[in-house]
């Protein structure tokens, strides 16, 4: 059943990367429980605009949980309280009348704040550029059925490939580690026969790039797995570590 809520929002406002930010308080009145979290912010922004104030800057695009563009920390949790859910898929029915909701950007040394809740996640692209691909040019690929891949391997690869690159794992980790993100791509390609020729180089280059970009290390807190909207498993981190050690000890990749 649709109900309406009155909420108090505490939202991080910051003009630019070098300015100081602070939490501002807003009253959100008559919020329908059928609204998504982002639609609730739309309503606040419409209100702020009409009052002559600057609306809250936040990233979002597909609003169906797949593009990976949205994401803020809601009451201390990336993408909010629901498991396996992006912020755009979080609906207000999961909150209660009178709640105070604190909304902050992803925080990590590798993610510079651009404005308010918007951060620069280009570091994640750089990790992929370091080797998150199979080096095959367009044209000349063999028939798609030439390499049989067992259903089990295809499914495992797909589990890892489901990562949407939102950065919630980094925001959730006390060390701001990007290991779940990097390991998802390393795993997908290490599992599949197409990725095997470059597996050693990929593991070493991607891990090295990740370290250089200022992401922390993994200390098995498992916060990333708990907050990942696509429920990517930390089994992938174990697989990445294996790939990394294998490459370090048994390959010629430096």
């Amino acid at each position: 059943m649709t109900k309406t809520l009155n909420l108090t929002l505490r939202v991080w406002r910051q003009k630019g990367p070098d300015s100081a930010g602070k939490l501002e308080t807003y009253n959100a009145k008559n919020i329908s429980t059928d609204m998504s979290f982002l639609e609730m912010i739309d309503v606040i922004n419409e209100q702020l605009t009409l009052e002559g104030k600057e609306p809250i800057a936040f990233d979002h695009d597909c609003r169906e949980g797949i593009c990976g563009m949205c994401g803020t920390v809601v009451n201390g949790r990336p993408h909010g309280p629901e498991k396996g859910t992006t912020l755009c898929q979080l609906h207000m029915r999961h909150f209660s009348d009178g709640d105070t909701i604190v909304i902050e950007p992803w925080r990590s040394r590798a993610f510079k704040i651009i404005k308010d809740l918007v951060v620069d996640r280009s570091a994640l692209d750089k990790i992929i550029q370091a080797g998150g691909y199979v080096s095959v040019n367009t044209g000349g690929a063999p028939d798609a059925n030439a390499i049989p891949i067992s259903q089990e391997i295809a499914e495992k690869a797909m589990d890892a490939a489901a990562c949407i690159g939102c950065g919630a794992c980094v925001a959730a980790c006390p060390n701001a580690s990007a290991m779940l993100f990097a390991s998802a791509k390393i795993s997908q390609l290490a599992l599949l026969p197409q990725g095997k020729p470059e597996a050693a180089k990929r593991a070493i280059e991607m891990v090295r790039t990740m370290d250089n970009l200022g992401f922390g290390n993994c200390t098995n807190e498992r916060e990333c797995e708990a907050e990942c909207p696509k429920e990517i498993s930390i089994v992938n981190i174990a697989r990445m570590n294996r790939e990394f050690f294998k490459a370090s000890f048994f390959s010629d990749v430096k």
Binding site: D34, L38, E39, D42, E46, L48, T49, G52, K53, E54, P55, A57, H60, D61, C62, R63, E64, G65, I66, C67, G68, M69, G84, Q89, H91, I114, K115, V118, R121, S122, L124, D125, I128, Q129, Y133, V134, V136, N137, T138, G139, A141, P142, D143, A144, N145, I147, P148, Q151, A154, A157, M158, A161, A162, I164, G165, Q188, L189, L192, Q194, G195
Partner: protein, 637 residues
């Protein structure tokens, strides 16, 4: 103007091969002397950027999101068609070609569509080589499923996330070229103008969305892969950032806009539930493989679906179209849903919904099997509606989904501006008046991986090579116009937000130019849009400044373009006095309420030419000739 589609001669199946031979080549050492701009990083733009860079061209690629991986191709769920015939069920290039031409209600070019079918198999090969984890059978072979408008099983898929996996494949190829320094990637940039010098596209002007600075880039050719314009309807399944501005501004510079009234309304979306709603969510067409569509037989029946016995349910698609059943094409399924709701048989709180029921499939195959195929879709549905579709039927209703219309292109995918190429949903070329499911991914990737790499070379070798820099007067003029436009938006300081205007425009178009149209309604819509546009330029309120990260300003610019483009859409609908595919004019229907084409007078592409502010656009017709298929009344019975 006489439109020349440059369709090669010879038999249909040999045209592309012949054309590739006839196109002049750029030798490998010379490719590095050419700069190419690609705008957009979805399937078409991502694939084109990577493939052109692999060939040796210097590529500059732009996207509005924070990463090239976010483009809305990522949200495509169900799958991608290819005529591999792995199922041995009678598929062939010719059959895929025919299904696509027929599905498009005979309003697409034969030669383009046949080429698309021929390339479809290469796409699957390419994606598998990249490591795209398509679904597999137990023996390790690729799995297929069925989609609307076809009686063979030719759709390849990766759970309900096929678009995501194909896009990440293209993104990985693009990332490799960025690392190799063959692609310079510019994120958070919005294209605001194409710069045309001596009749050739020679660059673009963009706004850096972080700093607000206007930036200019020159090149030897420009490739637009900026997606469709579905968001002109405000509520659609498109991403919030998807917009018409890049293609519309190219139109204002001389690129013709083709068939804008061919918009696809997808039958299976989660129904609208409130005025604050910002977008609609699609439930993949693949669900119609197993879901049965029904409404109560009795109008106004408010019982719960579980309380309505079998005999009192109307499985209207199965009854009306026994050979295709629930898998009729999208336009047919959408119109039938509307028809049922108009009769008062719609369900749910608003009466604007029909059931999509999985009970029989779960009984037949078990919950596990259904879960394996559709888990993420069921989960998505439950998150939005708080209903569990394993236990109660889904409620669905049609929503704006895809634009078949787009910038006019010839067989080389070049627009009416020399050197301006248009790929993917942004062009009009392959889907006619209705696109079949799982064909958008196929077209985007065919354009990007396998067509533009050949045809752009043919253009570059014949175009006069002249050094152009961004200090050329044409760039300065363009920059000045953009600054004037922005300053005007910011200076109005009215009382309504751009979003508010956008919502009202969407309501007008949905009401008068949606699933069903008539001349009086279209005339009215045109007038309402003109009035709304007038009000916008007097009363819009855009907060903030231009030299800043300012999402309100971005939005206002896009809405300003929608307010002009919306009228073009209506003008096109008014001029096409027939019904075909997604364009249904009530005055032109068969006795059974199916779309009735007028092949004698309307077997053409309508390509609109911009004639300056305040003037009506001029219609140019490209006749469509069918040498290989017979034009028939589409039948899915």
């Amino acid at each position: 103007m006489q439109l020349d589609a440059k369709i090669p001669g010879g038999p249909l199946a040999e045209k592309w091969d012949r054309h590739r031979f006839e196109l002049k080549l750029v030798n490998p050492a010379n490719k590095r002397k050419y700069d190419i701009i690609v705008v957009g990083t979805g399937l078409a733009g991502g694939a084109a950027s990577a493939s052109l860079a692999e060939l040796g061209y210097n590529v500059k690629t732009f996207c509005i999101q924070d990463s090239p991986r976010r483009a809305h191709s990522i949200a495509a769920q169900g799958g991608i068609n290819a005529s591999k015939n792995y199922q041995n069920d009678g598929d062939s290039d010719r059959r895929l070609f025919y299904d696509t031409i027929k599905g498009g209600d005979f309003r697409a070019r034969e030669a383009n569509v046949y080429r698309l079918a021929q390339l479809s198999g290469n796409i699957i090969d390419q994606c598998v080589a990249q490591g795209v984890p398509f679904a597999r059978e137990y023996g390790g072979q690729l799995a297929n499923r069925s989609f609307g408008g076809a009686q063979v099983s030719r759709t390849f898929y990766a759970r309900g996330q096929t678009g995501q996996q194909l896009l990440l494949g293209a993104y990985s190829a693009l990332s490799r070229q960025i690392a190799a320094k063959k692609v310079e990637m510019y994120t958070r940039r919005e294209m605001l103008d194409v710069v045309v010098i001596d009749g050739q596209a020679r660059g673009i002007v963009v706004r850096n969305l972080v700093s607000g600075e206007i930036e200019k880039y020159a090149a030897d050719a420009v490739v637009l892969a900026t997606g469709g314009y579905g968001n002109v309807f405000y509520l659609s399944t498109n991403a919030m950032g998807a917009n018409v501005s890049a293609t519309y501004r190219a139109y204002k510079k001389g690129a013709f806009f083709a068939n804008p009234c061919f918009t696809q309304i997808h039958p299976t979306c989660i129904p609208v539930h409130g005025t604050y709603q910002s977008k609609l969510t699609l439930m993949s067409e693949s669900l119609r493989n197993d879901g049965r569509v029904w409404v109560p037989k009795k109008p106004g029946d408010k019982r719960k679906p579980s309380e309505i016995p079998e005999a009192e349910r109307d499985y209207y698609l199965e009854n009306k179209y026994p050979s295709f059943g629930n898998l009729v094409p999208r336009d047919v399924a959408s119109r039938n849903a509307k028809e049922q709701c108009d009769k008062g048989k719609g369900v749910g709180e608003t009466g604007l919904a029909v059931y999509l029921d999985f009970a029989d499939a779960i009984k037949r195959d078990g919950k596990d099997t259904i879960e394996k195929k559709y888990a993420n879709l069921f989960q998505m549905y439950e998150k939005i509606t708080a209903d569990n579709p394993y236990e109660t039927p889904m409620m669905i209703y049609p929503a704006v989904h895809y634009a078949m219309g787009g910038l006019w292109v010839d067989y080389n995918l070049m627009s009416t501006i020399d050197g301006l190429f248009v790929l993917g949903e942004a062009n009009f070329s392959d889907h006619g008046a209705n696109r079949l499911g799982a064909s958008a991914l196929m077209q985007g990737l065919a354009d990007g991986y396998f067509i533009i790499p050949y045809t752009i070379g043919g253009y570059l070798t014949t175009a006069a090579k002249k050094q152009i820099k961004t200090d050329h007067p044409a760039f300065r003029e363009s920059e000045k116009q953009i600054n004037d436009f922005t300053n005007k938006l910011l200076s109005i300081k009215g009382k309504r937000t751009a979003d508010d205007f956008h919502r009202q425009l969407g309501n007008i178009l949905w009401e008068y130019c949606g699933m069903s149209r008539n001349d009086a309604g279209l005339e009215k819509a045109r007038k309402l849009i003109q009035e709304l546009r007038g009000e916008f330029w007097k009363n819009v309120l855009v907060p903030g400044s231009d030299k800043d990260f300012n999402q309100s300003l971005e939005k206002a610019g896009r809405v300003a373009d929608y307010l002009e483009f919306g009228e073009l859409l209506v003008i096109d609908a008014l001029s096409r006095k027939e019904s075909c595919g997604g364009h249904f004019n009530e005055a032109h229907q068969t006795e059974e309420n199916e779309a009735m084409r007028d092949d004698e007078n309307f077997c053409h592409v309508s390509a609109w030419e911009y004639k300056g502010e305040g003037n009506d656009p001029v219609l140019n017709k490209e006749p469509l000739t069918f040498e290989n298929v017979k034009l028939t009344q589409r039948s899915y019975k």
